[in-house]
Structure formats: C-alpha cells, structure tokens
C-alpha cells in the first residue's frame, strides 16, 4: 500500500513542476491526492507500527506467549485485507476524488466517482483497527509476566497502549460518519446536504473527532519506538521515564478535545475556536515533555550512530519542526491564514513522514535481527537514513514557504510565482522516493540475507535493547 500511495505522491509532485500542470488533468490530479491520502493514512500510517512491531513486540516485551486473542488478531488482518481490496477496487475502476477528508456535501451529493466503495473500504478497515486496539489493551492489562508492573513496562508499550485507547474510542465515530455519508448518497436522507435539510459542517465535526486523535494513533507508536531507540543507543536509562509514560496518556486524552482546530474558518462559533485553540496549545505540552526527555537522555550518553539511531535522531529533529509549526496552526490568528495551504501539508508531513515513517524505519531496522535472525548492512542503512533525511527536508521545507505565501492545497494548477518553490519541492520528492525505495530494498531486504553471522555480537553491542530482551528472556 505504501508503494501505491508513494507512486501517487511522485506523480503529483511531477505534475506540479509547471504552474499549468505538467502531467495530468485536474480531475486525475484530484484522484491522485485522494488516493495518496486515503492509502497512506488509513492503510499505511495507522496500521504500520501497531500491526508489525506492535504484534511482534507487545507480547514479547511483557513476557507473554502471544496476544490475548490470537484468532482475533488474525481476523483483524483479514478484515484489513478486505478493506484494502475495496479501496484498491475503487482505485482501479476509475478512482475517487473526494480528498481523504470526504467533506460533505461534495462527497455525499456532488461527486459521481467511487465514493461508496472507497468509504466502505475505510469503514471495514476501521474494524481491523478496533480489534487490534482491543487486543493490545487486554493483553497489556491481563498478560504481563509476574513482576512486570506498569511502571516497569518498556516505554514502547505505554505508547502502544495510549494509541490502542484511541483506536477503540475514536474509530467508531469515523465509521458512523462514513456510514451517514453512504446513507445520504444512496437514500437521500438529509443529514449533511442543506438542500435536503442537513448540516454540511456536522460532517467535519464527526470526521475530525476521529481524525485528530488518529494523528496520534500514527505518531504515538512512533514516539514509543524512538523512546526505545534513544535509550538503547545512548546507553542510558530513559530520563524521566514516568513523564514520558504519562505524557503518552495525556496526549491520548487531550487528542479527543481539539478537533475544533480544523474548523476555525468553517463558520463554527468564534468561542468554539477559542476553546479548541487553547486545548491544542495544551496538547503541545506533553509532546514537548517527550522531546525534552529524549534530549536529556541523549545528554552525556555514549551515543552510537547506528542506522536505527540515525532514524531516531532524524525523528526528534523533524518531529520538533513539525510540532513547532503546529503552534502556528493552533494559534487562531495565524491559523486562519495558514489553514488549507501548503503550510499544513508541510506540517503534517513533518509529523507523519518525518515522525511516524522515520520511527517505523528505525524500528524495523532495530528489531529486524530479532524478527528475522538476520542483520541488515549497516553502511547502506546509514547512508539511506541520511539520504532520506536530506531528501525529506528538500521536499517539504519549501512547502512551508509556499503555504506562508498563500498557495492553497489541492491545487492542480497554480500562479506562476510559486513555481520556484514548487520545483524545489518536486526535485526533493523524486530524490526521496528513490532513496526510500533503495533503503527499504537494499538495507532491509537484501543485505540481511548475507550478513547473518553478525547477529551473535549484537546483544553485546546493544545493551539497551534492554527492557525488551530482558522481558522476553524472563
């Protein structure tokens, strides 16, 4: 799925090399960004870390044999595949152009592309999320080995736990919202379309009530991975363990209260905007706590710059950039100007790619030997990590500037004055994607095959793999 989403992104960037659009018709462009968003968010970012590292590490880290409900876990995999099949069908049979946000009444009435099929795919996949979340919650509550108290749990588990709570509580709201879109589309029940008595903005409330917490589903597991990596490669105990742990929970709780920051200019009342803005700022604090504690852990540590650590350091830098620019979006006055511009695009890619994807790659590299019994080629992996970091910044940093200058998002054609920055971004993009592919192919999949001999020395090299390994050996 990642490759499909990625391909859509590259096409978009290539298209935007010229102001008038170099490659495709606006309609196709709209389908590309919709596919990119739907696939990346619902079928890659949300399940990526929980479904791979989570399934593998959660039981191991708490000293259990498997998750509480192994069959449910298998079921959630099948459900995911079914959902993905619907979405892929929609893609192949002509696509959909609602944007991943499915805003009404555009989606519920005006478009005649495969809205229902796509929404159904996302709807079904939602159940996979709920099942996975439930499974993790029960496992962590009930199956910890004797002596594995809450406050001894590896930090990764705290973050997975917090993400699971969001999975279980928020996903049903998305399911309901999409269900209602379907209802209105098929049976013309007036829910969102004002022409038949609905309220168009209601959808945005429902959608963001899920989708803001969902942002934290994507980033919390990444934060957990980084907490583990930073401790391991600076050969120290995590600084402020309890603060990092509780900040995960604080993020999960607060994430449910800030959806209104997506609606500053939606005609919601100015007081609702006021409260949403205040709460969004409050949400910045637990994230800041994490960054401080990671840096404090690094401080005076004996740091070794192996590939996973490079990803983790990249994460900290990029996540901080993403987080700080988030403050400008949370602030009412600047938020109004920057809303729905490329600034937002850059902001969440710094969090989602610079954060979640970097953590995912770091985590996969880190635990690869444990999962497969083989080691990747460290030189290549480091090289790839650096190249991704540079390419990523090349792609997305210009987008901050574009957004500040006022280039709106989801534009297939744009005024000529934005071209220089757009070309820079496109150059960065094709560069990153190629390297990203290289990195995954070379460092993770090919090289481990012929470097397995080094695995034994690994535990000596990485004492801080610590908690995880200790737990699994208990």
């Amino acid at each position: 799925m990642f490759f499909i989403g990625g391909a859509a992104a590259v096409m978009m960037r290539l298209h935007l090399i010229e102001p008038a659009g170099a490659l495709v018709q606006p309609e196709t462009y709209n389908k590309l960004f919709t596919m990119h968003g739907v696939v990346m968010v619902f079928f890659f970012l949300i399940p990526s870390i929980p479904a791979t590292l989570g399934n593998f590490l959660v039981p191991m880290m708490i000293g259990a044999r498997d998750l509480a409900f192994p069959r449910l876990n298998l079921l959630s995999w099948y459900v995911y595949i079914t959902g993905a099949a619907f979405t892929l069908y929609a893609l192949i049979s002509g696509g959909v152009d609602t944007g991943w946000t499915f805003y009404t009444p555009l989606s519920s009435h005006y478009l005649n592309t495969h809205v229902i099929t796509t929404a159904l795919g996302v709807f079904i996949t939602g159940f996979s999320s709920i099942l996975t979340g439930l499974n993790f919650i029960v496992t962590i509550h009930k199956m910890r080995a004797p002596g594995m108290t809450w406050k001894r749990m590896p930090l990764f588990l705290w973050s997975i736990y917090a993400a699971s709570v969001i999975f279980v509580l928020a996903t049903p709201v998305l399911a309901i919202a999409l269900f209602l879109v379907g209802l209105e589309r098929i049976f013309h029940v007036g829910i969102f379309d004002p022409a038949i008595g609905g309220d168009p903005v209601l959808f945005q409330h429902l959608f963001w009530f899920y989708s803001h917490p969902a942002v934290y589903i994507m980033i919390l597991p990444g934060m957990g991975v980084v907490s583990e990596l930073v401790t391991c490669f600076s050969k120290k105990k995590p600084f402020g363990y309890i603060f990092i742990a509780y900040s995960s929970l604080a993020i999960a709780v607060f994430s449910f209260l800030v959806w209104g920051h997506h609606l500053f200019v939606s005609s919601q009342s100015v007081y609702a905007g006021f409260i949403s803005s205040a709460l969004s700022f409050a949400l910045a604090i637990p994230s800041a706590i994490k960054v401080f504690n990671w840096t404090a852990t690094l401080y005076k540590g004996s740091i070794s710059y192996q590939a996973p650590m490079l990803y983790a350091l990249g994460f900290i830098g990029l996540f901080t950039m993403g987080g700080l620019t988030g403050l400008f979006l949370a602030s009412l006055a600047t938020g109004v100007h920057l809303h729905d511009t490329y600034f937002v695009i850059a902001h969440f890619h710094y969090i989602m790619v610079g954060g979640a994807v970097m953590a995912y790659l770091g985590g996969i590299h880190f635990w690869w030997p444990k999962i497969t019994g083989r080691l990747y080629h460290d030189g290549w992996a480091r090289f790839a990590a650096l190249v991704i970091f540079v390419g990523f910044n090349l792609t997305f940093f210009p987008q901050y500037m574009l957004g500040y200058l006022g280039m709106p998002r989801r534009y297939a054609v744009y005024p000529a004055e934005f071209q220089v920055l757009d070309v820079m971004s496109s150059a960065g993009a094709s560069h990153t994607r190629r390297r990203l592919l290289d990195s995954i192919r070379l460092s993770s999949l090919v090289h481990p095959l012929w470097t397995r001999s080094r695995i034994e020395s690994l535990e000596r090299e990485r004492p801080g793999m610590g908690d995880a390994i200790a737990a699994s050996h208990r």
Binding site: A195, S267, A278, S331, L332, V336, G406, Y411
Partner: protein, 253 residues
Amino acid sequence: MALEITGIAIPSLICIFLFLWGASLFFAAAQSPQGAMAIFVVGKQWMWHLQHPEGPREINQLHIPVDVPVRLTMTSEDVIHDFFVPAFRMKMDVVPGRYTSEWFEATKPGSYHLFCAQYCGTLHSGMTGTIEVMSLTGYAQWLRENSTAESMAQMGLQLFSRLGCDTCHLSDGTGAGPALQGRFGKQVTLRDGQNRVMDGAYVRQSILDPASLPLPNYRPVMPTFRGQVSEEHILQLIAYIKSLASGERTQAP
C-alpha cells in the same frame, strides 16, 4: 525533578502567550467595523459571483476602493468553498445553506490573488480570481462605468413582483401575509413564542422553508420558493426587504 518542572513550565508559558496573542487578534478580526462597505458573494462550482449593493455584478473579480473597510456576506450555491485572499490574511468558508462573513481593509492599491481554499471538486484550482484595489476616485469612476440600471434592492423589488410575493405581502397589511415594511432588523415572535431577529438568514429561511417560521395571526399559506430562486436572487430579495426597513427609496424611477 526541578529540571522536569522547568521543562514543563517554560513551554507552557510560551504556549499561553502565543495562544492569547493569536486569540486576541482573531477576535479583533471577527468583528467588522460599523459602516463597512457591503459586498455579496456567492460561490458556485467553480466560480465566484460578486455583487455590489449599487448593482454591478462581477465574476472572479472584485473592485474595491483602498482604505475602506469591506464586509463580505457569503454563501454557496452547491458545496463548501472558501474565500481566501492571502495578501489580506483573510479566509472564511463559504457554506451552502448559511451566511458567513468576513471583512478587510486594503491598504495598498494593486491586484491581489483570490483563491478558493476549500477543496470543491474537479476545477477547484480554477476557482480563483483577483481583488482589484483602486484609489477612491478610480473606484468611483469604475462604479460609474459599470453602473447598472438598478441597484440590488431594485432588482429585489422586480423579483418581489415577478415571483408574486406582492400578492400576499401588501404594504398596507391587508394581504394574506404580513406587510414587510419596517420589519427588517426587528424582533419577530413566532407562533410558539420563540423570538428571532429578522436578518438575512431569517428572510432566506422564510423564502425557502416558510413552514418552519409560522407567525401568529397568519395562516401558513406561503409556498416554498426552493428551486425557483438562486442564492443571488435571495440576496437581492433580502436587499429589497432591508431597504423597506430603512425607508430608502427603492421604487424604480
């Protein structure tokens, strides 16, 4: 521990400061100044229709005098759009079924980008235009050159008789519906005792869904005009009914 506390306190203070700063500017910008010049906007897949109260209509272009506050009253004929002028740091969704508004005061003559910032379908990125900010004299001249035979209120008057509104809403109050003279901006008490102020949204609702606003002492005979009037027509009708309140002369000469 002390380190932790300072690590939490400092960002908290910065956040509170940024929040209050942003919020105060936002509230200041939400309230349009008295006597701002009015412009009416209807978003429609994929173009902007704008109208000046004096009558001139524009598409994807808005001529405005410099140094005069301008207040936009906006609605959409179909999906949600967003009226975004980056140079004025101004953005507001244009939502079907309701009126939203925003205001600005251009300080430099020139021409500025207008974008639709809310994704609205196939030609979303073509839903752009320009705001032409002119000197006061330049604007006065532009108005003269583009003047129409009728103002918005007069267009409303025409509609009022063409649609047959005047068969019920007689000015002496003897018709099947209430006289609309002097009503705009005043309080209305509905049959169930609910109090509403007659503003643009109220008039719009009366025209599209009269049954939802039953008045005491009147039989609910007003038909809905949904499907017969466009959003632009409704804005003109509102302008007319508003002019009845201020006693402005709107009879066509």
